[in-house]
Amino acid sequence: MQNFEFVRPTSVADAVAALKGDEAQPMSGGQTLMPTMKARLAAPEILVSLTAIDEMKGVRKDGDQIWIGGGTTHATVARETAESYPALSSLAGRIGDPSVRSRGTIGGSIANNDPSACYPAGALGSGATIVTDRREIAADDFFQGMFMSALDEGEIVTAVKFPVPQKAIYQKFIQPASRFPLTAVFVAHFGDTVRVAVTGASSDGVFRWTEAEEALQGNFSADAVSGLSVSAAMMISDLHGSGAYRAQLTKVMTQRAVAALA
């Protein structure tokens, strides 16, 4: 790993100030960025650690939503949303492995927007709001393609606010070596609306399967999507599975999710 200047601010304001330089890189739990830097795919001159910022940590009620600080680890989210939002707790508690969950954070995962990460599906499927140091962004506008988001240079995810659906579930089909989703689907039922978010499948990153959402709003059963199909054209195709396989998995995992909830 190339050396860098290490700074560890204790407030969001100080972190934003430290990120003003061109070659500064924020790091939260580092469970993606550290291996990336070891492989020399990233070599920042200044590394701004976000792990000592207390105002970015914790889980609490915020009206009828759940506020989760961007620096909150997966392990903490899994533990502290177990009663208030079990589907999100289950998602957080299955990311990577226990040691990864001790360090990795929700803000880091969402800012990185890996096309196979779990949290983007949870945030988009829940219709969450991404809170940054300067604004609030709806999840629908935040995720903009593989590793792309609405974040500007030097902007950090300070919190994520989740509305709590009547019922929801995260169905993950893992790629067994990496433990990342090969394809995973987050289905949330809000009574009058249904949201279906898919990760791991598309080369555009996380997306909403709106055709399935419409079908499920009228008839919340696994049969409602059996006549639908997902185009394989934009799907990731690699040694772990073809685009057609991921397209089929999108449908099957959606059906399994609905069957488990219905």
């Binding site: 050396n3 580092g30 291996p35 650690s49 990577g96 226990p98 001790s102």
Partner: protein, 161 residues
């Protein structure tokens, strides 16, 4: 260089580290605590698992500078005060939970973290928890048996595969 001060196995230590110094390198090279192993250096094998503020962490995926102010526990601190092995260590010995021993420090640290969080895990919960720890020798069965035994559960009752 960054000045750091932390507690390792209950003892206060200080050090001067570069930004890029990994926690595992600080432990092994600066403190000479070589019980924590580096298997892959790519965050996948779990041989370097230590506890940071009570939680399991891969020491190859954390900067030493991030451990400033933290409480770190390594395999060297697991034995009892009188030098006898911890319950988990003893169970690994009794049930042949190791062969070459390379993964063992990480396995013991992961198992100890699991039992703190879940004192009577099922066999499935143990296997799930060890997702991030790779062993090339044992085929895992004796490791799982060791952890069942360390939690005071009946080992022969486990299904043979």
């Amino acid at each position: 260089m960054n000045s750091i001060k932390l507690r390792v196995n209950g003892k206060e230590v200080t050090g001067q580290v570069e930004g890029r110094t990994l926690l595992v390198d600080f432990l092994r090279k600066d403190l000479r605590l070589t019980g924590t192993h580096v298997g892959c250096d790519t965050t996948q094998c779990g041989a370097c698992v230590v506890h940071v503020n009570g939680e399991p962490v891969k020491a190859c995926a954390m900067l030493a500078a991030e451990a400033d102010g933290a409480e770190v526990a390594t395999i060297e601190g697991q034995a009892n005060a009188d030098g006898s092995l911890s319950v988990v260590q003893q169970a690994f010995q009794d049930h042949h939970g190791l062969q070459c021993g390379f993964c063992t420090p990480g396995m013991v640290m992961a198992a100890t973290a699991l039992l703190k969080e879940n004192p009577k895990p099922s066999e499935a919960e143990i296997r799930e928890y060890l997702d991030g720890n790779i062993c090339r020798c044992t085929g895992y069965h004796n490791i799982v048996k060791s952890i069942m035994a360390a939690s005071g559960q009946d080992v022969p009752a486990m299904a043979a595969e």
